[in-house]
Subunit: 358 residues, 2 copies
């Protein structure tokens, strides 16, 4: 039997609920494929702040680094919103990404036929949308130095951040994107702002230079403002998108909302080697926390990505994906994706239905 160490970081809000459900699904899907998991649950985000005063305790970072893969719930909440920057849950997430060196963030945005009505886009525009956004995750303006708020020579406050990309950082994320596109429909759109930003000019140049190594992938370039429009105008034109950290943050959230079901969308963050980080793209939803209302499917599908991209266990991953579709086909829906005629269930019950379908 194969054994894997999984670090579980439930985090805040609905995080613990969805992680507990996803853990059971992961366990059963693994069992059916002859896999065993050792789970190590660690404090993270606001929960860690309350417990030990920092959002990413040393022990949590170490456990994550020593695991085979990390499954994360969600972080943040009103309670810590007024904290100083370095004492906010979000900082824990940024540092975890940096510690794990997970530079490639894969964010699928797919409209399932079962859920096409959940989109605010017209049916003919939303149906069939199936894209993967590959976001650079450990560079750019999120981490660039110099940064900070300083006082200038006139005694005035000035806020500064640095958008910075070295050639190798662009190359490695571009390669992930080309490989991703190759396994999908063979179309890659690189998004930048090369008509204004120098960092984008380098980005475009490096991505273009790699294209000859992937002759089977059709590469195009698009400005970020245009991409923000095209996602709404005609989202089906996109297969794989690659972009920098901040543009990826914005566009992937936009794309997820186009699907209308962000409670369904998983993500994977991968490095050169070492454990990957897997998490739903939704937030901690403090307003519904503890009420058994959360949609656990995004976390369950993150567990599927963990199996596929993190452990190379494609069969177990496929079991989970199929079970999720099966539960949806049977009409089970949490509140966020409910429409009349379906069966409204809570977080736990949805988890049980997926377990049954496995």
């Amino acid at each position: 039997k194969k054994r894997y160490n999984i670090a579980l970081l439930p985090g805040d809000g609905i995080g613990p609920e969805v992680i507990s459900v996803a853990k059971n699904v992961l366990e059963k899907a693994g069992f059916l494929q002859g896999l065993e998991f050792d789970f190590q649950e660690m404090p993270f985000g606001g929960a860690a702040l309350d417990l030990v005063g920092v959002p990413l305790p040393e022990e949590t970072s170490t456990a994550a680094k020593q695991s085979d893969a990390v499954l994360l719930g969600a972080i943040g909440g009103y309670k810590w919103d007024k904290n100083e920057k370095h004492l906010r849950p979000e900082m824990g997430l940024l540092h975890l990404r940096r510690d794990l060196k997970v530079f490639a963030n894969l964010r699928p945005a797919t409209v399932l036929p079962q859920l096409v009505d959940a989109s605010t886009l017209k049916k003919e525009v939303a149906q069939g949308v199936d894209m993967m956004i590959v976001r650079e995750l450990t560079g750019g303006i999120y981490f660039g130095e110099p940064r900070g708020i300083t006082i200038d020579e006139n005694g005035e406050e000035v806020g500064v951040n640095t958008e910075i990309y070295a050639a190798h950082e662009i190359d490695r994320i571009a390669r992930v994107a080309f490989e991703t596109a190759r396994k999908r429909r063979g179309k890659l759109c690189s998004v930048d702002k090369a008509n204004v930003l120098d960092a984008s000019i380098l980005w475009r140049k490096r991505v273009a230079a790699l294209a000859s190594e992937y002759p089977d992938v059709e590469l195009s370039h698009m400005y970020v403002d245009n991409a923000a429009m095209q996602l709404i105008r005609y989202p089906k034109q996109f297969d794989t998108i690659v972009t920098n950290n901040i543009f990826g943050d914005i566009l992937s959230d936009e794309a997820s909302m186009i699907t209308g079901s962000i409670g369904m969308l998983p993500s994977a963050s991968l490095g050169e080697s070492g454990p990957g980080l897997f998490e739903p793209i939704h937030g901690s939803a403090p307003d519904i926390a503890g009420q058994d209302k959360a949609n656990p499917l995004a976390t369950i599908l993150s567990a599927a990505m963990l199996l596929k991209y993190g452990l190379g266990e494609e069969k177990a991953a496929k079991r989970i994906e199929d079970a999720v579709l099966d539960a949806l086909n049977k009409g089970f829906r949490t509140g966020d994706i409910y429409s009349p005629g379906n069966k409204l269930v809570g977080c736990k019950e949805m988890g049980e239905e997926v377990l049954k379908s496995l």
Copy 2:
């Protein structure tokens, strides 16, 4: 009779067509209100590159600065896309904004009842959308130093840009936004990424500090990734949005596409004093240039903004706005906003219909 000097910068692609139509409308609306205009047409963008080798000739910049207001068509085209950065039409636009010190870019995104079907959003989501995006236009990562592509100590290329905002730059754009919100529905949403960026932390702090001076305006803050989602989920929640240069670039294009009729949307760029810059938000559409297919209404409505925000001639502005609505009510549509049952017209004929309605 009041006389105004208007600098006309037709630019590239469909620019000359829409400017020629909008000029006639501006002239007649002014005439009806006892205003006279001296128009000075100057080369700009690709047209200027072809003529004199730079996108913003000295003479054009001077004419713009000495005018009472600048009306711009559109710039850019495939022809100049491979030019080096400083020899691209876009650079002319960035330098013109800087030369005119127009730090406040007002971009309305309105869904007219006549055009609600043009949106890819469901009717119930799109109808009634009426927001104003106030984008900072002469600061931030667009202009921040240091910038460029350099070789680092390992001999590797590195691309750098600097996101930088001084307190007074934030304050002045925030004031424009508060004033704008006050004249609208009294709601202002400031968009930033204060959970990650120091420049955004200062932005949020300064905007929040001004709120007490505008007790009649309800201020809220939103992260940019969430804003990109909310614009799709429930765009009607927004009245006035204020944000930095790059986020404004992305979100205003997203908002414009939500209306489904970017051929309709004008913009105004204003400074502390001196002439404002008025232009449609659409591009130069080289594929339809010279075919009398362009929608001139965005430029005509930009002329209305010129009258209102640039010259303080609200009555003449209102005449133009009413005439545009009248032409739409009579069923005239250019191809981009055409739907069955309406009358398909070209750029010139649309202009003539607006003139008739004036």
